[in-house]
């Protein structure tokens, strides 16, 4: 039994090792993704180009403009003569915000203690627009409290905001768990289902079925090398995120790796399940990509927050294994919580794994009996 298993794993390893292109993708993909997300893509917006219409042209408006110009978020691209030019400026495409300081701004502020400025944003990209306007509000707010310095205000409430767990608001805290879920899903589900279905396609599966090998042994032996590969990838992603992106692992490393292995096994059993219901590599690939990869991307909370989803999608997200894993990784890696807090998620993952395994074994037997 043990010798059979080893002979099989060895053969499986040859398949993977000989296919250099796939091997390169398997190991290269996580590294490239981490680096791209880490350095090229970021949610922070720096040096946005803006235009200013200064109709007030006095000392106060000049101080406000200086304040805006000195912020690292904004570069003043041009000064416009009037608000009518704003539309044309947006349409040229470079400008993200236009600030209009009306003629009355300075004098009104001096005499009535009340000034108004207008902020126009290009909301064709709504996320950027709302981020930029909130940056701008913060700058104006700072400016206002500077003006009030030394004067006694009737009431002041200053919310002191602290960003816990991710004080610098780094995007890495969000995408490293997401990439881990995606990569493990890709290796374990996609590669395993393809590898098993390939044997069906080429006809070697028939020979294996006629041999004294137990079907269950065939499935386990086929998935073992992929479990190993996913371990290597977990390690490389964690190393990169700690040493290249500077993201510390707050919680227990052992717990993180154990639960990552659990997720890998869940994905492997999903891959087995797919392989029992398909007979061609293309179908297996399509099911893995459309049925698993997209939901992992969309419904795990990695790309879009689950809290904002309509109810049907919220309910659907519960059957996506990656959702639970994503939550676990975020909690353990970033908040540093222990099993006490995430036992529920871990339990759901375990239950899913067992269900997928049971189904695929049952399916495998049924198919044998019918044929």
């Amino acid at each position: 039994m043990k010798e059979q298993f080893l002979a099989f794993v060895k053969k499986e390893w040859f398949h993977i090792w000989r296919d250099k292109k796939t091997l390169f993708i398997l190991f290269g993909l996580p590294i490239v993704q981490i680096l791209i997300f880490g350095f090229a893509l970021t949610n922070e917006i720096k040096n946005s180009r803006i235009a200013i219409v200064d109709q007030s042209k006095d000392e106060t408006s000049q101080r406000l403009i200086d304040r805006i110009a000195s912020s690292r978020y904004f570069d003043i691209e041009e000064f416009l003569k009037s608000g009518d030019e704003a539309d044309a400026a947006f349409k040229r495409g470079k400008i993200k915000l236009v600030i209009i300081i009306p003629e009355s701004f300075g004098s009104s502020l001096k005499h009535t203690n009340h000034g108004a400025i207008q902020v126009l944003a290009d909301a064709s990209d709504p996320n950027t627009a709302s981020t930029l306007t909130s940056y701008m509000q913060a700058i104006v707010g700072d400016f206002q409290s500077d003006l009030n310095e030394g004067k006694k205000l009737p009431y002041t409430i200053v919310p002191e905001v602290r960003m816990l767990y991710n004080p610098q608001l780094k995007g890495a805290y969000n995408f490293v768990p997401g990439i881990m879920a995606m990569v493990l899903m890709l290796i374990c589900t996609l590669m395993t289902s393809i590898a098993i279905v390939k044997e069906k396609e080429t006809g070697t599966m028939e020979v294996l079925l006629v041999s004294p090998l137990k079907p269950i042994l065939v499935i386990f032996a086929k998935s073992t090398p992929y479990l190993f590969l996913s371990l290597v990838n977990i390690a490389s992603i964690l190393l990169l995120s700690v040493f290249v992106l500077g993201l510390p692992i707050a919680g227990s490393l052992v717990l993180l790796i154990t639960l990552s292995l659990l997720f890998s096994i869940a994905s492997l059993s999903l891959g087995m399940l797919i392989s029992t219901i398909t007979d061609s590599q293309q179908t297996a690939m399509l099911i893995s990509l459309m049925g698993l990869f997209l939901p992992t991307l969309m419904l795990s909370g990695f790309m879009f927050p689950i809290e904002n989803m309509p109810l049907p999608l919220k309910i659907m997200s519960n059957v996506v294994p990656a959702k639970w894993y994503y939550f676990i990784v975020k909690s353990v890696m970033i908040k540093g919580v222990g099993l006490k807090i995430i036992w529920k998620e871990a339990f759901v993952l375990t239950f899913m794994t067992l269900a997928f395994l049971g189904l695929s074994i049952k399916n495998y037997k049924v198919r044998l009996a019918i044929k």
Binding site: E206, L209, P212
Partner: protein, 253 residues
């Protein structure tokens, strides 16, 4: 005679073996006995039920009714014991193309539980027999089809099974290689291995010790090639086959 004594004498016995898929009766009450060391030709047009019958004998599917024993084991109740005692080579090429000749041998020997020492011994024998063809470290994918099929057959024999099932082993192979292939089959038969062969080449049917021809799920003729030619007053096995196959009502798949 007691049935158990029969089982010992014959490598394969089938009594009214039947397989139905719903309404459709793929194999309809077939009976035959195959002696040890016999080369048994299992002929029939496409869709006649050959593959289904063979799958039952290999322990891959359970008969709906009837009985069969292979190497003395019952196909319904002891498929695992059967699997240890049979070899199988399919019409589809069934080795791993991205593995070398040696790695393929090691793998199949490994899953039949052969020890390293046994494997080495086997390889020595095969390697000497086919020195010219078995470039041990060549990827199987780079070998010509005929060589692949011969290698496939050698590997089906590697665990010294009592019975080998060959499902259209010579499909697409050139006449010379087919001739060499049949020499290998004869050699195995002389060592006492029973060979159960399906084929569409009627000249190959002439090489078999005995032949059965399936039509629409039943065995329409069974006997030595000489007997069958006499019975159907035919010049060749090809004529016998055509006479029977034309009676078929079932559509070929």
């Amino acid at each position: 005679m007691q049935p158990t004594e029969e089982n010992i004498q014959y490598a394969i016995t089938a009594i009214n073996l039947t397989k139905a898929f719903g309404e459709f009766i793929a194999v309809d009450h077939i009976s035959f006995n195959i002696k040890q060391g016999e080369i048994f030709g299992f002929l029939g047009a496409n869709g006649a039920g050959k593959t289904t019958a063979m799958r039952m004998l290999c322990g891959l599917s359970k008969p709906t009714s009837g009985e069969a024993t292979v190497a003395g084991f019952d196909v319904s109740t002891q498929p695992e014991s059967i699997k240890k005692n049979i070899g199988y080579m399919s019409q589809k090429f069934s080795l791993y193309e991205d593995l070398t000749v040696m790695e393929n041998i090691r793998f199949y020997a490994g899953i039949y539980g052969l020890s390293d020492k046994d494997i080495k011994e086997k390889v020595r024998i095969y390697y000497n027999t086919y020195t010219s063809i078995m470039k041990k470290n060549k990827l199987v994918g780079s070998l010509p089809l005929g060589w692949k099929q011969k290698l496939s057959f050698s590997i089906a024999l590697i665990h010294e099974p009592k019975i080998v099932f060959l499902d259209e082993p010579t499909g697409g192979v050139d006449p010379l290689t087919r001739r060499e292939f049949w020499e290998m089959i004869y050699a195995a038969s002389q060592r006492g291995t029973t060979l159960f062969v399906t084929t569409h080449y009627m000249d190959e049917a002439e090489y078999c010790h005995r032949v059965s021809i399936m039509v629409d799920g039943s065995i329409a003729a069974l006997g030595t090639p000489a007997e069958l030619k006499k019975q159907f007053a035919a010049e060749s096995m090809s004529d016998v086959f055509l006479q029977l196959a034309r009676q078929a009502t079932r559509q070929a798949d």
